[in-house]
Amino acid sequence: MRIARCFVLWLLVSVAWGLGAPADAYAADRPAPRTPARQAERNRMLDVIRRYGMTDETVLRAMAGVPRHEFVPPAQARSAYADTPLPIGHGQTISQPYIVAEMTRLLRLTPQSRVLEIGTGSGYQAAILAEFTEHVYTVEIIEELAAEADQRLQRLGYDRVSVLHGDGWEGWPEHAPYDAIIVTCAAGQIPPPLLQQLKPGGRMVIPVGPRYAVQSLMLVEKDLDERFRSRSVMAVRFVPFVSERTGADR
């Protein structure tokens, strides 16, 4: 009798959970996630990302596969899938999920892409990149972060990601040129060696704003004639003039 009650209770809870959970639009063609743990939260995170206007299914699939909660400190684990940046120590952060998705989209990665990341942090962005290509190189200047990220990526099966403890200003010339580079913009400067290590036709993405609150993204493209052109991309849609939005001046 007790077993039957438990079964009914389990059934009710399961049905209620299923009704309450958002529709999983990506379940059909998503690759098997690295871990099923907290998949429902990951799916809700994807819904939030979609609400920002992200429609790139390949990026969404990658975000669905990487267990973000494994990349944040234990104290932040509860908030791992929240729509916020999170501190990871040493003054570094793991970006808001939508920012990670948008930066990844801007890189236009293919399985053949060779991609360099400057500022490994916890390794989360590198793991997302590794969902697209096996040629991921990431450099971190803080030794403790580099070691922890390397171990974490190995443990989670991202063993093709190469982590280097070194000065990101110099890039990683041994594996250059790169099709894509993703770099944290420190104090308004872009290291010239990185620009040189970008392949003609390659793309570099830089988050701009305070470290804990990315306000816009910068995309640098290197032409085939090796001239640079850059674009400022809002992380979210922006219409600067209120009068245009409302149809009337305030």
């Binding site: 501190p87 939508y98 000065d167 209120v242 001046d249």
Partner: protein, 813 residues
């Protein structure tokens, strides 16, 4: 023999000793406030300064409520309470700043992580303790006989003035940690002065003295600097070391060097050359600037890859070498740029004398000599406005580089910080110092969406219009991915200058945003935005539709003025909802922490103040249920507290511009208000004022403050060019009559309440404290919205209404 007079009992306060102790505790309280502001600026950011002011005054107010509730016990044992509170204060001054370091706080995540609010609250509660004790000690003294209150209040004001001066002077020679020790000793001496000679008190004194010694030597104060500041970031890099560290009232300077330390912001993407080796200079662990170790002038070519190099190309066709004025020379990169372009006369203004000493001393061989000691360069430790008003020199190039850090601008850290450098009047004075065809160059960090760079353009255009020029003919705007530069001339831009600028931008891949005759399809070519936003905005701001454009823009880009000098505040409160609508949850990234913290401090001050004011009135609170004249007492002291602080802050702001240095202004304003107010207070000692006299004094304050509203700016402008000593004297004399009259009102009112309803005295002290909190924190928020003239008018209204309510404080004499 009068035994009571020889050995006062614990229920009585010895007159002279009480006043000495009051002087000392008041000095310690103000000194602690300034030291904590210094400590928090170092550990976190300066926008927490208003939190300290709010907490300090809240502590004073809360002490009044506590005394109201404990009045009977305290009155029976005043001297013992006074001494005990001072002993506890001495201990807390030393322990609280150290214990505050244990609170985990990432204030930058306040908008994202609600748990940070709990951390902030814990920090505030901790900081509240010493101010509660100091306020309690002063409040106990104010429970003395009503005929003594004038003198007591005078000691309080004069001690506060001395504390402000003393703390700033001490910052020149003591580290922040040593300051806390010194303040603890001051509080201990105050306790020793009034201590009843009984074993338990002497034992307590010895115990606290031993504690101070043990803590000062065994547990040194070390600032727990936020890991999001630049210094901890640099120190995390392998091989980085601190070469020099100096501390002073303007902040702590650290010089760091190491293989991974690099700083060359704003370089164009096309620059592939070498940046010379350099060290980085940090102020309070942030706001970096570099000192470059160049071998020859050619090494400065990297600076020619920034938008700041444009003015030199625009004046390069002249036969003679250019002259340049650099405002905010910092590490000297802009001096190097001027020398690179052959300037033979460079005036470099750098207000931070410690930085000048570093570059001409320890960093001389590391690059300082090449810029600060070059024969063509004159370095002056002056504020730009102060220099411009007194100098008749003209320059071919006036360079105003971005004075704030790349990240700070976007985070809104300076949102409630006034700046008289970025106003219509300041830009106008700069234009007046240009030689014929000279170029004013104002550079800001480029933002997406653009904010302060458009505000700088609008401010420059307004300055040109005030001089009768048509800005569209006198201005240019260029940008690269990192910076936007405004170029302005007092003459219409010549064809040769326009051509030079076009060539400069084309060579470096910089975008032209505005230039006389520029077509829309010429803009937005290299660093591409979705639309030619800068071009469109410049056309609108320089055209007839500028007001509608400014009003319709999401961020505040209206010209900043000396009356509303909040250039860095770009997010008006009205835009908060639009921000949410525009960016959704991501809108939090654009919140301005400085303004947010001030608004939170104000809301908290009002809320806590209301609770603590009402608490003694409720049946269970006790004390004041049956007391008469509660409403006039509440109104009088509320209005007096608010009016006093509003007037003091407004005058301080006016003096920043007049005395051309924030520290001189703070010292002069605080000293004049507190010392002259103290003298006014002393003038009421033993001479109780009736209600007619109180009302008449209120009207005197109203009249003098109203004169200030109308004529203060013009009066001070007459002598802005006078020597500093003369200006200090004029400032003091201008404030003196007003402060004297203001100083009479509080003790006169308190004595009147003491005669009519003694139970209301500590409550009045509390009410006055809370009003001071609210007014101090509200002042910059109000000024940013409405301007300082409006705030002055509000202060006038406060004193007028205080005069009206004074009529009901007592019965007719």
């Amino acid at each position: 023999m009068n035994h009571r007079a020889a050995v006062p009992s614990e229920s009585e306060l010895p007159l002279r000793r009480t006043r000495v102790a009051l002087l000392l505790v008041s000095a310690a309280a103000i000194g602690l406030q300034l030291s904590l502001m210094r400590a928090l600026s170092l550990q976190l950011w300066s926008h927490l300064a208003y939190m300290v002011i709010g907490v300090a005054l809240l502590g004073f107010g809360a002490s009044g409520t506590a005394l109201t509730l404990l009045r009977r016990r305290v009155v029976a044992n005043k001297r013992a309470w006074f001494a005990a509170l001072l002993l506890l204060l001495a201990g807390s001054v030393l322990l609280v700043p150290r214990a505050a370091g244990w609170i985990p706080l990432n204030v930058q995540f306040l908008a994202w992580d609600r748990s940070q609010a709990a951390g902030l609250l814990a920090l505030e509660l901790m900081l509240l303790v010493p101010f509660l004790l100091a306020g309690g000690a002063i409040g106990v003294a104010l429970l003395d006989r009503s005929d003594r209150l004038g003198g007591h209040y005078a000691a309080n004001l004069i001690g506060s003035g001395a504390g402000a001066f003393g703390a700033v002077l001490a910052m020149h020679v003591l580290t922040t940690g040593a300051l806390f020790t010194a303040l603890a000793i001051v509080a201990l001496v105050a306790a020793a002065v009034v201590l009843p000679l009984r074993r338990r008190f002497v034992g307590g004194l010895a115990a606290v003295a031993a504690l101070i010694g043990a803590v000062a030597y065994g547990w040194p104060w070390r600032p727990a600097m936020s890991e999001y500041k630049a210094l901890p970031g640099y120190l995390d890099m392998p091989g980085t070391e601190i070469l020099h560290q100096v501390e002073g009232p303007l902040g702590r300077i650290d010089v760091v060097a190491g293989p991974a330390v690099r700083h060359a912001p704003g370089l164009g993407l096309g620059f592939a050359g070498e940046v010379p080796p350099h060290v980085v200079v940090l102020n309070d662990g942030d706001a970096a600037s570099a000192v470059y170790q160049v071998q020859n002038l050619a090494d400065w070519r990297f600076m020619d890859a920034t938008t700041r190099a444009a003015p030199y190309h625009m004046v390069s066709g002249r036969p003679e070498a250019p002259s340049a004025l650099i405002i905010g020379a910092g590490g000297g990169a802009d001096i190097g740029l001027a020398l690179h372009h052959g300037a033979d006369a460079v005036v470099a203004l750098e207000m931070n004398r410690q930085l000048v000493d570093l570059l001409t001393g320890p960093l001389r061989a590391r690059g300082g000599e090449a810029v600060y000691l070059d024969p063509a360069v004159t370095v002056l430790p002056l504020d730009a406005r102060g220099y411009l008003i007194r100098s008749v020199r003209t320059f071919d190039v006036i360079q105003l580089p971005p004075v704030d850090a790349f990240g700070a601008s976007g985070a809104g850290l300076h949102a409630v910080q006034e700046s008289y450098l970025y106003t219509v009047e300041a830009f106008g004075e700069m234009l007046d110092h240009l030689s014929r065809g000279g170029v004013l160059c104002i550079t800001r960090w480029a933002r997406t969406p653009p904010r302060d760079e458009l505000r700088a353009l609008a401010t420059t255009a307004a300055a040109l219009r005030r001089r009768g020029y048509e800005p569209a003919e006198h201005l240019a705007l260029i940008r690269n991915w990192a910076t936007a530069t405004i170029l302005a001339s007092a003459l219409p831009l010549a064809a040769a200058q326009i051509e030079a600028l076009r060539a400069f931008c084309a060579d470096r891949g910089f975008d032209l945003c505005y230039l006389p005759g520029l077509a829309r399809d010429e803009a937005n070519r290299y660093h591409v935005l979705d639309t030619p936003l800068y071009y469109d905005a410049a056309q609108a701001l320089l055209g007839p539709g500028r007001d509608a454009f400014t009003a319709g823009y999401l961020f505040d880009i209206a010209p900043a003025t000396d009356d509303r000098p909040y250039f860095f505040r770009s997010l008006p409160w009205t835009a908060l909802f639009a921000l949410r609508e525009e960016f959704g949850a991501h809108g939090r990234a654009f919140l301005e922490l400085g303004a947010l913290m001030s608004a939170a401090a104000l809301a908290q001050g009002i809320l806590v103040g209301l609770v603590l004011i009402v608490l003694p009135l409720v049946p269970l609170g006790g004390g004041l249920r049956g007391a008469r004249r509660r409403l006039p007492t509440l109104a009088y002291f509320l209005l007096l507290g608010a009016g006093f602080m509003l007037l003091e802050i407004c005058f301080l702001q006016k003096l920043i511009l007049y005395l051309a240095h924030p520290l001189y202004a703070a010292a002069a304003a605080i000293a004049a208000f507190l010392v002259c107010g103290g003298l006014g207070s002393l003038s009421t000692a033993g001479l109780p004022l009736g209600r007619r006299a109180i009302v008449a004094t209120s009207l005197v304050v109203v009249a003098l403050a109203a004169v200030a509203v109308v004529g203060l700016d013009r009066w001070l402008a007459l002598s802005r060019g006078a020597p500093l000593g003369a200006r200090l004297a004029i400032a003091g004399l201008t404030i003196a009559p007003l402060a004297f009259a203001m100083g009479r009102l509080f003790p006169a009112g308190l004595a009147a309440v003491g005669r009519a309803q003694p139970a209301l005295v500590p409550w009045a002290w509390a009410v006055n404290g809370f009003a001071s909190v609210a007014a101090t924190v509200a002042c910059p928020l109000l000024a940013a919205e409405f301007g300082f003239r409006a705030v002055l008018l509000l202060a006038v209204a406060c004193y007028l209404l205080a005069g009206v309510s004074a009529w009901r404080l007592t019965d007719a004499e």
